[in-house]
Symmetry: C2
Subunit: 683 residues, 2 copies
Amino acid sequence: MKHIRTAIVLLLLYSSGLCSLRADEGMWLFNDLPLVQLKERYGFEPTAAWAEHLMKSSVRFNVGGSASFISSSGLVLTNHHVGSDTLYKLSTPERNIMEQGFLAKTQDQELKAPDLELNQLISIQEVTDTVKAAVKADMSPEQAVSARRAVIAKIEKDSLDRSGLKSTVTTLYGGGRYHLYQYKKYTDVRLVWAPETAIAFFGGDADNFEYPRFCLDACIFRVYEDNKPAKIEHFLKWSESGPTENDVVFVSGNPGRTSRILTMDALKFQRDQSLPYIMNNLRRQEILLQQYSLRSNENARRAREDLFGVQNSRKARLGMLGGLQDPGVLAEKSNAEAALLKAIEADPKLKPLASAWDTISETTQKRSELLGKGISVQSTLFHIALDLVQMAEEDQKPSGERLPEYSEAGRESLLQQLYSEAPIYPDLDQVILADSIAKTLEYRGFDDPICQQILAGKNPADRAAELIQGTKLQDVASRKQIAAGGMKAIEDTQDPMIALARIVNPEIRRLRAINDQLDELDRQAYAKIAEAKFAVEGTSTYPDATFTLRLAFGRVSGYEQDGQQIPAWTKIGGTFEHEKKHEGQSDYVLPASWKKAEPSLMASTPFNFVCTADIIGGNSGSPVVNRAGELVGLIFDGNVQSLSGNYIYTDKQARSVSVHSSAIREALQVVYGADHIVKELGK
Amino acid sequence: MKHIRTAIVLLLLYSSGLCSLRADEGMWLFNDLPLVQLKERYGFEPTAAWAEHLMKSSVRFNVGGSASFISSSGLVLTNHHVGSDTLYKLSTPERNIMEQGFLAKTQDQELKAPDLELNQLISIQEVTDTVKAAVKADMSPEQAVSARRAVIAKIEKDSLDRSGLKSTVTTLYGGGRYHLYQYKKYTDVRLVWAPETAIAFFGGDADNFEYPRFCLDACIFRVYEDNKPAKIEHFLKWSESGPTENDVVFVSGNPGRTSRILTMDALKFQRDQSLPYIMNNLRRQEILLQQYSLRSNENARRAREDLFGVQNSRKARLGMLGGLQDPGVLAEKSNAEAALLKAIEADPKLKPLASAWDTISETTQKRSELLGKGISVQSTLFHIALDLVQMAEEDQKPSGERLPEYSEAGRESLLQQLYSEAPIYPDLDQVILADSIAKTLEYRGFDDPICQQILAGKNPADRAAELIQGTKLQDVASRKQIAAGGMKAIEDTQDPMIALARIVNPEIRRLRAINDQLDELDRQAYAKIAEAKFAVEGTSTYPDATFTLRLAFGRVSGYEQDGQQIPAWTKIGGTFEHEKKHEGQSDYVLPASWKKAEPSLMASTPFNFVCTADIIGGNSGSPVVNRAGELVGLIFDGNVQSLSGNYIYTDKQARSVSVHSSAIREALQVVYGADHIVKELGK
């Protein structure tokens, strides 16, 4: 009887649609592609070579973002807003590349990024058994953290030594699987072309996460090796015509983080506490940066990149919170969880796994108690100081016992950031530091002993001024000197920022250790939940996003909103109408180059388009390809309805938004006179 | 021995300056003026007639703000940002008075404000004994609230019946004194002149609370009686030359609220909890209104008044918090409290008063527990609904038992607001309502039963849309109809906004009752503290601000900041330099009228000036007068250093900022061609 009853439960689950994947749902692993779904829905059967080519044509921006190789000579296509970290760092008051754009007319004009690292995924290996074997069931959370950290550090170090490739172990299914990823690293990356912010981010914060859109959110870099353009084997061909409506397209990129496996308790914590807390912090930073920017145009230029990042996060998180505050979404998650638990209860082999929910309920409670009790001190120079202090401490231990970011396998990437010559603006850093000290006082209470130590008898503004004006860490040579001197240099230096880092470091470490243990308990619990889901729902599923390469697929398709049908495409001609409609609003003023080019531009060229592929932040810059593997678009956004995708995928209105490949080509040619780049596209 | 020891303690107190008033400190009651200080510091001895004339020339804007009569025919001078509530309500998409300004060339062009009420203080009477006698020592907090409410309602009603004047009992010294204020009320108020926002608020949010400034933050109304300009007996003469540097000036206005009497426990609550909480809410509203405004210029116009209010509050509160986060300020407050407690301990008669500090410690703890647990639902239409529901309920009780805002004495002012024909923009109201529902969910937890009732199965955005689209309360006739029907109409109506108000009303009332009792306990405690302070420090002091008329005084004087001497004056010519310095920043673009008038304007005319008078929010629009009682300036701001004045007065850098009387006259004549107004000034 038991088997039959289980079967009925499964049938019920599937018929109510609670566990079956929706239509185009999924951020799939390249070593576990949705072959069945693709064949069933689109009659498409990708070959191994098709998949490998797409994987190796894909590029990860280490700062957060995706991209692709688009020529044999190392051209890399990504979003303006992904490249903007570098555009910002390359800009000066005299030459504002971020706002005004850039075009290298010849290769020797290409501008070297100060600290950009690009990663190309080369291989994926299953290491679940090795990792799980190292963590014994009877270990305390503290021991488990150490054991897991040690085995992962060893796998990564062995892989690095063996292959010379950047090697990272990725935790999948919240702890259900572990894969070793090997990446080829490019650290000589140069800017080739970027349009003006006014067209890359046309419509500004108002249009962000909205659709229809009219944005050329694109820019092009080139990777170099040995001071010459790198020879690239796998790169995407440029589609002649772009995507076809209703046909399948594929997105290959690095979605940053989703939370679809979360239990209801964990979701409620997100909804009622964590997200509201984060939103308060984001709004605080936004106002702070706005206030700083209002003082002068140069201030606005300095704060622009941080401000955009904060505004983007704020709007994205508001959408996520909106999803969790929707009784419909919640009910669906709650029903699915109840059904899964019911299935577990009905199967004696699965029943022990139910304890995972209790564990997460407990870790969630702990997280709630810790929320906002941390040390919120922030500033670029402070973080450099803290890195130097922690690196000196960690380097006294064997690699396997260190905090992961200081392990041997990751050292090169760490130093690329730590010794970056990118500009730091002390006045901006001081404003951020002062406010973050004030925030720490507010959250921990002014009378907290660490707060008193941080203040050292001054108010936050005066203390921040003293620290920023006193530190030498703005100078990269001075960072290198302290790093070279190890713990002794840290102890001996008179640098006040290092002194501040030393004051707060023990508390930061204490809280980090607690958090690491909670993460470990969560990992063990979610491993059980993943096991239960595999048993009940089958293994043909995908893990939550982890900022590693995934394949999504979907149809190019419009949608209905407020009773109106929104077409899948916008056209270049519509851009000028959109400007007119918003006359007098500063975020809707097209750059001079576009106004000049208007008569020559083909108005009917598709500009932006939407599809149902399942994406999230981190996918920005992902190539969109057709069945032939040709580049047809460039992901740059999701609409507002897609934001609850952090918790649940829907394709009713949720859409990812791309720049059409033809628009990029048209603009390069007609607006920017970059025929030399156009000739290279896909060649 | 005891007497001698007390004397020593007092000496110590005075010599350390802990209780003696600083230089120009004080927001003085008109029935208890600082005659000694004025004589000692400035050799000035105001006559009773001088004081009465200034008092009766002063005007209170009921919406929050100060003003003065400046002609015998009812001209009233205030700030643009005080009048802006009316400027906003009089504006339409076609005629944006707020942004573009207004000038009535003849009296029949003067524009009637939809709901403005101005108050002129006529008399102040001591009623402390009557109020205190009604509240017995053995009453529970609940009984005490009722008893105090009843006696106050009775005093107010008797005064209204006797005099026909608007009558309110004001609690002073946190509960140490009660005074009855009688006001003549003006409800037919018409707009005569307002400049453009671009010059009234030149420099925008960036320059707000900063100095040097270049703002014509002024506008002029006229009060009418029987449809004719009112005949005004007491009005200010217009000074020919303005103030003299270092001489004394006087500010007569209605400071809204200070917190100088607060105990250290109450201050710490402000610092670590209440102000950070309020700041989070303000930033939230600011971002929300910004986001709404970004969508179109018309949206920006609609949200402008709210947005300005929120930004102003945010910046003011940040300054207050900055004061409390300054160890120096805190130490001063703490030392003063310790000294006062020591003096109390040393005197057996005073010793029982020390229990007040424990009471406040307890009420503060309660307030901390309640923080953010309220119902945060907001929107103009929702508040109208709640007023209708509560008014119907309260009207079933005798006046003395009602919530004070529904008492008979205040009914006329209440209805002036409730039945206002001022525009309500449903789209803006909906955005505010949706966000405030979301906020309520976040603070109380989504699963809270009242939250579930508020949502009624929808998400906040959909629910807000349903409520706004379903309510008829936008129509004033519909409000009147429901109000006329009393409780039965409230129960019978199908209006969804009334239904929502009824859902949340019991919880709002429950929390209000708790809060009223905490206020009552605080009043009793602060009455004791005031008594102790009178005994130890003498009675020659002033109570915290209560949005009632006060006299402040001070010197016109510059100050030093970051090693630079900031002069007391700016000049009209500097305005154009200030614009140039901030070229390309939208808040620094002078209006066309000023650019056109530049050659004709006298560049050396003083524009704004600072003085050491002790002011706070609510003083905006206050007249500044010289010894002769002539108008020499118009308060419109305090500098950033003045903001900790909420807790402690200093004159080191803290300054109040005024528009110079000559600048107003010069601009009226040269920029606005308003000779007919200039001729009337002070006449």
